[in-house]
Symmetry: C2
């Protein structure tokens, strides 16, 4: 069974604590719907924030990148990092400027990433990354060869010190503003897949698989 999420001063939800959660189920649902995270790390007192894809394997977050990249070289040193995942669900239009908001679901994870060096574990992590973003893709494609594996750094971050923050629903206005003649409500936002575009070098006889033509997030 999963270890309990560690609650620390760093993951404490200071602003509007009722929006916070430390439940693995809540955190994992967000992590499993999104596929891009923003990784924060510090080099010589300068923070860097880099977007990258990720996958979850059990209680670990997997990220990967070129072995030559600044981020991968830095994170391999087991420095403290912060990984943030954000889903924007809607724009919340209140009657006053002050109470405008967004509906969102976000996760913040603190920790140190470990290098995955075992070859079989590394391949499994790359499979998880591909399958997280496009389920059913891995069995069809050419797996990484020795050189490609060497050129790819894969890191594993334990999901131990983490929290989720969620806002849903209508605007909440100041009592006296409900009388104003202003439209208020929510504009929902969704990430949608459009019709896929075949590579112009695609061989004519290859038809589009159902997992691509029917691709959906969430």
């Amino acid at each position: 069974m999963s270890k309990e999420i560690v609650r620390t001063e760093r993951t404490k939800i200071r602003r509007i604590p009722k929006r916070g959660s430390f439940e693995r189920e809540t955190i994992y649902k967000i992590l499993d719907e999104a596929f891009v995270c923003h990784v924060g790390f510090t080099v010589d007192d300068q923070p860097f924030v880099i977007p990258t894809s990720y996958a979850r394997i059990g209680d670990r977050l997997i990220i990967h990148g070129s072995s030559a990249s600044r981020m991968m070289r830095t994170l391999g040193w087991e420095k403290p990092i912060c990984v943030t995942v954000t889903l924007i669900d809607g724009l919340v239009l209140a009657r006053s400027a002050f109470h405008h908001s967004m509906n969102y679901r976000s996760v913040v994870i603190f920790g140190k990433a470990k290098l995955i060096s075992d070859e079989q574990e590394k391949i499994a992590a790359l499979e998880a990354l591909t399958e997280h973003i496009v389920p059913n893709r891995w069995p069809e494609i050419r797996p990484p060869n020795e050189l490609e594996l060497k050129a790819t750094t894969v890191l594993s971050l334990p999901i131990e010190e983490a929290s989720a923050k969620i806002r849903t629903g209508s605007p909440v206005d100041a009592e006296e503003d409900y009388d104003l003649e202003v439209w208020a409500g929510v504009i929902p936002l969704k990430v949608k897949a459009e019709s896929s575009i075949a590579d112009e070098k695609l061989k004519k006889e290859i038809s589009i698989p159902a997992y691509i033509s029917g691709y959906k997030r969430a």
Copy 2:
């Protein structure tokens, strides 16, 4: 006229430099389309990455938050920060696992944010934040009062040391993989607004303005 973007060791595009840009026009186009950034800052060697909305006024990025929040209290100290904006345009499906990628447009800005304390400048910044996310909204809503202004910290980050990184188009496979019997191409992704949901407390006679019913990103 805008000062030239400063190119530094930090904004150097190390991986695939042809995807990089230091043009203000390219950087601003991305900043003007997106509306959520991830702000990175460091407290006691621990990086934090927090999602928040933003606006651009000329050559400055504006962010705001509760005066009580950890981020706003920290950034007010003029510490080095990193602000990253990411738009995901599509999933790039190659014939090999290794060449899978994403189409994206991202901007990274390094610098120190300054507190906006002048009241008129602060209100103008809040107007820019609202109008950036929902154009035409500001003239309709109740503007912030004294207490609300006090409870809100607004920061301005000069866009001086910044870069954009962009990937577009088809997968690029290894020459020998083009013969494989694998579908390859791009699944485009778009953020779309769905039908707005009126607040249940909305007065019956208030109809939905065109800038909300016709809301679109980009």
